[in-house]
Amino acid sequence: MLKTAIIESNISSEEFAENDAVEETIRISSDLWMVKTENTEDEGWLFVDFHDDRFWIIYSMGNSNFFNIAIDEILRSEGGGLDRLWIPAGQVEEIGKMGEYEGIKISFGADDVFPEEFIEDNLEFTDLNIDGSGQSSRHLFEILKSTDEIDDFLALSRIQIRREVDGEFVRERVTNEGTFTTRGGSDASLHIATVERIKDQYSNLLETIEDNHIIGAKEQDHGGRSQGSPIVIRFSKPVPDVEEFLSYVVNARDPFRLWGHTRQIGHESYKVDGVDAHNGDKIAIEMSSEWIRLYLYEGACGNTALRIFTNIQQYYDPAAELVIADA
């Protein structure tokens, strides 16, 4: 089966050639390389498509484990230069609208971040994993969504669709990290078009964030004109203890990897001057029980905001909402 991954890049293809995971390259054209890589699972060739400077597309016919490890190693050895996609749950649902549902996966894992006592006091679920495939997948998802006790915990992490266009079809399994497994189809071009469409949707989201939400000041004859506003993450329910919540999120550990200095700035509000240790971006957070204001500063990547938001959805509040300026 064909495996595909979209990755976000802040480096050039020439820099990529120096990546620790890359053993050999064959340049089919300036925009398409074959790249040899080896890992604990296997060794093999990947095809890397550079036609979009910001979002590269990597293809492989190798097995899933080999491909997943290869992508992990490529991303890890490049620090902040390369990153995976962090597709919010709402956007995964949007992908579902591109075709007929053939499967869903819901992954919520508070126990990966928060201790048992905190979960007991604050959350209805320690973890919640639902993995279903088949014709009734959409029906299952709709039933779950209409159930009040559970609907706030339904963050789609993966979706399978069958997409038909002009008599041609393709069956795709798409994760919230921007990886695809093509499970069948009649036209490879339709797969490429599907990947491009999802890439463009994500690119537009990132562009909206970077155009409107990077804090800075534009030089004037005298003084500076304010630029940008914070991104807001609104919780579906108030966070009972903001300080405790932040102590598990801003601790320089996986999965958030946020380092920072946290201090109380109001009766129930806190501020963090921090760094996203995935890529070194400087951030600031102001948090009340109802929302987070996330400030990104010049040089920061919009992917930082999507990573933080997607992790909040996956580990604390799947119904949290990202509030950004309209594109």
């Binding site: 890890r76 050895s77 490049e78 620090g79 902040g80 230069g81 409107n212 804090i215 800075g216 000041a217 030089e219 004037q220 004859d221 005298h222 003084g223 500076g224 004109r225 304010s226 630029q227 940008g228 506003s229 914070p230 807001v232 609104r234 801003v250 601790n251 320089a252 550990r253 990897r257 380092w259 920072g260 200095h261 201090r263 700035i265 109001g266 009766h267 129930e268 509000s269 806190y270 501020k271 001057d273 921090g274 760094v275 240790a277 995935h278 890529n279 070194g280 971006d281 400087k282 951030i283 600031a284 102001e286 009340s288 929302w291 204001r293 400030y295 500063y297 010049e298 040089g299 509030v323």
Partner: protein, 308 residues
Amino acid sequence: MRELSWHTHQINLWIALSKFQPTFSTTLGEIGYECDVIEERLYLHDGDGNDIIHPDVVLTESEDSHSLVVDCKSEEVDPDQLRRYLRLNENEDQLVIQGLVNDVESDNLTADTVLSSFSELSGEDVLDEFAIVHFDQDPYSGLAIWNLDGHEFEDKDVKEQFPINIKPSEPLPTGHYPFDIYEADKEAMVSNIFSTVISLSMKEGELSIDDILDHSHPYWDKLGQGKRDELRDRVEIIYLELLNSGLNEYLEKIAGTEGREWRRTSKTIQAVQRETDYYVNEVLEELPQARLDHDAWSSESSDEDNEE
């Protein structure tokens, strides 16, 4: 409990009022105002002589060519300062001529002169030529922003926006203009410089005082020379104190990875995380204090024992 000096809070609030801001109010942004932080002198000269004013922020609506020239006050007003601001009447064109307002024809510009404060300035002897804005913060009932009776804005559109009510009132937005030279901004400044140093060490490996300033304060190089120098002096002191407190050995390890390999940096970053409060407190203890007659903390680290 507050994060910043009242002066720095107000600069952030005026900026926030002009921005997309679902947790605050975008009142002035919705009617077309954009915010410039100035902190630079404006010369006013006419038949009566020369005067200088230092507006903190100027908000401008370029379509109607109207500006709000704001001076952020603490608790008192200075009669001489008010006298100087009054001379802006009939001299609004100087805002354009001297480059404090852009994108507007100098002949068309009209302006409201505004005093803002977290205190009530209504008891002060302020002429009605001045618009007065009162930020009235209560942790339980929210933030109310009043335009005081008798000191209304001349611009009808602006006048109609008040009062502005925001709930909850905390936390106030502070990320646009993160710190200034005032004693009450000290912890915010140390915390911000600390995060900037960690970020630059991860991303660049090397850093200079200018790099730290560029990445810690969006406005530092766009303010008047006097304010720039004062910010630079203080940032340099804080950086040296951070290094002296023991952070330097961690920074070398972080910088050595050039932002690559989370596995190689994570232990170091986690070690710094455990000591974060310690470093901030150590630096705060070492910094010079503000004088009793001054709001700004001193950048003079002179040792009085050695003074003759």
